[in-house]
Subunit: 321 residues, 2 copies
């Protein structure tokens, strides 16, 4: 509905509302959609930014925000408030800006709200999208927080050396580049990984790791936790490194599983390092300079071949061959 005179435009603005704290596996009924409206105009003198949300990301860390605030979260998480809309990472187009560095029409990524239009009150948390020759959805994954997390955890925390054995669990957001369907096949046969397996289908994780890593593991990118971590600890090599950015297997259970094989940290002199992407945001430019050319090469060669092989016309997210 177009406004007239003093009256500004009022448009529909569906919102996803977080109903109440969740225990166990989240269900659809833990959220609901409202059909509200929003005025597409910032208040006079506001330094906020009004955006239209284009893509919203659903990331594993959000599961922790669905619990009552834990004192241990510290500066890392602020939990959702029951009755309020869900917040998360997303890509948006600027409709109006009160911030000097952001203009109408800019494409941005950052923390937004699960709704059609948002007023971002801390626009300094938004980042302008400069590389526009990639699908915008990549700015909810490989090119933003998930990608930077994988980059920082691997290169900065684990300091890989030539010849080392690396174990990455493709769960969580940071490996979402390997999307769900045919994940193992994709990893092993198209993306050039030496081995790949589905940890949920292995009865004996220790035995599986011994099979896939007969020489042991130098680097483990940890975002599963629990039994998987226990099995990995039995298979670490001397002076191995474990970068930990999450433990997804623990998020839907009320009492975390105990991890028993921690003495292997001593036997093998292993470094286990928790990290969060917020400590590596200053490396974002360096990260983009690394990953944009890699993405270009992947798009030109591997993905094209894979998609053709798969017989699907649009198996790669965001593009049709």
């Amino acid at each position: 509905m177009a406004g007239s005179g003093e009256q500004e435009a009022l448009v529909g603005n569906k919102q996803v509302i977080f109903k109440d704290f969740v225990s166990g596996f989240p269900k659809e009924s833990d959220m609901f959609v409202t059909n509200g409206t929003v005025k597409l105009k910032l208040p006079e003198g506001s330094r906020a930014v009004l955006v239209k949300n284009l893509y919203l990301s659903c990331d594993p860390y959000m599961r922790n925000l669905m619990k009552p605030q834990d004192a241990n979260y510290g500066s890392l998480f602020t939990c959702y408030t029951p009755g309020s809309p869900v917040s998360g990472s997303g890509v948006a187009k600027v409709l109006e800006s009160g911030h000097p560095d952001i203009k109408e029409g800019d494409l941005v990524w950052g923390v937004t709200t699960w709704e059609e239009y948002s007023v971002i009150k801390a626009p300094e948390t938004l980042t302008k999208i400069r590389h526009t020759d990639v699908p915008f959805s990549y700015y909810t994954g490989i090119l933003v927080v998930p990608g930077l997390t994988a980059y920082a955890g691997f290169y900065e925390v684990c300091s890989p050396k030539k010849g080392e054995y690396v174990c990455v669990l493709c769960s969580g957001c940071c490996w979402s580049a390997c999307w769900a369907i045919h994940k193992v096949d994709l990893l092993k046969n198209k993306l050039g990984f030496d081995e790949a397996f589905n940890y949920k289908e292995e009865h004996d994780l220790n035995e599986a790791l011994k099979r896939y890593f007969p020489e042991g593991i130098d680097i483990y990118f940890e975002n599963v936790g629990g039994k998987m971590l226990d099995a990995v600890l039995l298979n670490m090599r001397i002076h191995g490194r474990i970068a930990v950015c999450g433990m997804i297997s623990q998020y839907n259970i009320d009492k975390p599983e105990g991890v028993s094989n921690l003495m292997n940290i001593v036997y093998k002199r292993v470094r286990v390092e928790g990290f969060a992407v917020l400590d590596y945001l200053h490396q974002y430019s360096k990260f983009l300079d690394t990953v944009i050319p890699l993405h270009q090469r992947w798009k030109d060669n591997i993905c094209r071949g894979y998609c053709r092989g798969s017989g699907e016309r649009s198996c790669c997210p965001g593009r049709t061959l």
Copy 2:
């Protein structure tokens, strides 16, 4: 018995024999003493060293050697053989040497055997004692592996910064400088620690840590494990460091306790680093240069005052005031 002609001296040589693998808390009956004899003469052309053992050390890591060899021990431990004498760290005097760098009369420390006289077949593992103005027993503790472990774990692994909160569990060998009697009193009132408590007497370790570390813990020197580690994880500060050289609370139980609060490694971006003194042996000279003057200062001031205050004439090990 003195030898005559071709016959060499044969003397009594009590040995402590490891009976069989131990489960649960070790008992006196897990070992026994034999009254054997030994020839006080090396074979012709031997490069070994014959020593009289003066002090033998009983260290926590030895508990792990009383179990069947665990594949995970790797290069860190070689377990005891049932029916063979116990080996461990000790101080000895050289009676005869086939090694060019070691002479009769030298005092040495290193790995020896629990017996009166030993033939050390790998004399390059022995270190000559150069500072002799300290009690020789210190070469089973503060001046050798336990001291170097504390030094490396604290300075090298944890990189302490001014103003940080440090939690050290005085269990295990590396803090044996604070010997058993009046440990808490000694630590708090005489050695200048801010606070000290007996973790075995606390019902709620998390609550105890919150009481003693209201601001949280930046550095934790871990050699207890289990429930203590779980409580510490809840109290770590952002970018805290945990140096792990052992988990003594787990050594006498068949199945290690599970540690549940590992997500705090992510929340607080904590670095947990396993280390073993064998990776820091090259720092031994630097360590001695640091610790010998510290010991001198302690002997001159604090210990003297404490011993006088205690009303005991020989409360400090190895010295009488």
